[in-house]
Symmetry: C2
Subunit: 349 residues, 2 copies
């Protein structure tokens, strides 16, 4: 397996990314080539400092970086020498099987769309976030790539999310739900009501609508929504979890008695932190493209990068993209048989 | 102040609601009349059992109840003798100043829309949920009433939410933000981008877009969104907070050492529970109607009901509806001066 890592664009500089890549290489002998894509001099400055000499490493220079301020589509077209474009070209040219980037999500999405293109039959790519939960994580798709969704996009997300949950998270028959405002079939907006109708026709374990209350009960494995809702849900969960940890810390250090209690019970807090740890997956895959593309957290550190590389290798081993191609073709055949209807009338319940 | 309480439709039966009302009456001598609206025999059966005799209490019989299965608009029209309709009629006829119901949100919203009508100039009513946070709570509006929003609705929510935060939560100059997928002005969907343009013209402390990450930092006081997104955010937060408490409980009882630690630190957990307690406000007001309407949690118990009645009396004392009428008129004058533009082009960032 040959993996390209865009080492630029992370919050902690390229040294951290390179160290994460070193750990992944050390653990995984199936990786035959690892491309470090970015500013050559920065990479070389980071390399010897970290004592990282592995014959499988190739450094690919990129003179530019996509920034958070760049307008993705325009920037991908204009900045031909930026690290994400160079990394994606390695995949397009068949030199790499997968790429990982910590940069601007919109930029990665735009580069994947423009340079790799979508798997035949897939109408729109999406980001599949893993959200931790007490029992096991669920997949949220789309987590922020596709802001103006059509019903067919959601149906395709249902298929792709189901494959991902099955192959990477090991759920046998992943329960797929559409995120809505109530569990009744009639609840939702124009988009979700029509997507509901499409998903019912698919060869997946579609459980209908789910609402916010269902997410953190072990009730659904794949949660489908448009990228606007998904992005807000993902960030709201991150924000609330952090706030609760912060409140806990604040309260537990308020006096010596509580401090002693916290000390005695510290393994309990560690267990929860471990379970809610976003670094376990290191980021989120972009599904639906001709190539394996993974967005690592901008704030990812060494362990998160190593984990991101591990997830990507699992993606390749399980041939997720080939499965998407097959199952989307089958889904489209089923969807082609559905009568189009006018948008259903909405009631305010 | 005269308050109508629809005692039907709660999860725990009307006895709990009546007991909550008794507590509120006992604490608040400014309440001159309290209507208990619902099945007369059930109410009378509950009354003596609870030792509740107050000359301010009036029982109003209603032969029907709106259920969760009812289609709100149709049911409000058809079930003329249901408790929410009877309670709302007391307000419409000027016999009560405000009403509280634990029933079906859609039903209350439909009844308020059909029977009370909206305050002049208000384009659509909304539900303002209070969401607890470490420092102080924020208002989320709309929390699930108005699923298919127009930009003007969001602008009106911004005005009404600002009034609510100022008058009821005591924020001096409430920071109002539109919930979006990033804080940059250009981030959002068609609805939020146009609402952004409108909100900039308003005489409120509009801070622009906020994202999920901002919600639980002390960064914004009033979060504006359509009812689809708001309902999902509200329920997701409730679900995640509960899940984290449940994890905590599970981990803290795993062995005797942790149990001892938890015992020593128990006041820390109590403080957090208290701060995250949804019963403090007992529910959420419906804003924008000709009358004060409050949706209590279906699961509300005595204390939550008493708190809901307290919030409603504050609403009346602060003349929230009169302020809404004034400030919406002013807002509409400002908005009338804005040039209409075509929907802005969207980029995938």
């Amino acid at each position: 397996m040959r993996i390209a890592v865009d080492v630029m664009g992370g919050d902690h500089g390229c040294g951290v990314v390179i160290e994460g890549a070193r750990r992944a290489l050390k653990e995984d002998r199936k990786i035959s080539t690892l491309y470090l894509v970015g500013n050559k001099s920065e990479i070389h400055a980071a390399l010897p400092r970290r004592g990282f000499r592995d014959h499988r490493v190739r450094v690919i220079h990129a003179g530019e970086v996509l920034t958070m301020e760049d307008k993705p589509v325009a920037a991908v077209r204009r900045k031909k020498d930026c690290s994400i474009v160079r990394a994606i070209e390695l995949v397009r040219e068949g030199k790499a099987d997968a790429l990982i980037s910590l940069g601007n999500t919109g930029g990665i999405f735009a580069a994947a769309t423009l340079k790799l293109g979508r798997i035949a039959g897939v109408d729109r790519g999406g980001i599949a976030a893993f959200i931790p939960r007490e029992e096991h994580e669920f997949v949220l798709l789309d987590a922020g790539a596709n802001i103006e969704c059509k019903p067919l996009h959601l149906a395709h997300y249902a298929v792709m999310g189901s494959i991902y949950s099955r192959e990477i998270l090991g759920r046998k028959s992943p329960r797929v739900g559409i995120l809505s405002i109530g569990t009744e079939d009639s609840k939702g907006n124009e988009l979700t009501l029509e997507a509901f109708r499409l998903c019912k026709q698919l060869d997946i374990n579609f459980i209908g609508n789910v609402e916010g209350h269902d997410l953190f009960r072990d009730h659904v494995d794949v949660v489908i929504c448009d990228g606007f809702v998904g992005n807000i849900v993902l960030k709201t969960c991150e924000s609330l979890a952090l706030a609760m940890f912060s409140m806990l810390k604040h309260e537990l250090t308020a006096n010596p008695r509580r401090q002693l209690g916290a000390l005695l019970a510290q393994n309990a807090f560690r267990a929860i932190r471990r379970r809610m740890d976003p670094e376990v997956y290191g980021g989120a895959p972009l599904l639906g493209f001709n190539g394996t593309v993974f967005k690592a957290h901008g704030s990812a550190r060494e362990r998160a990068i190593a984990n991101a590389i591990r997830v990507v290798t699992e993606n390749l081993q399980h041939q997720v993209n080939q499965l998407i191609a097959q199952e989307i073709t089958r889904a489209n055949e089923r969807l082609a048989c559905i009568e189009p209807v006018a948008a259903p009338a909405l009631s305010p319940d």
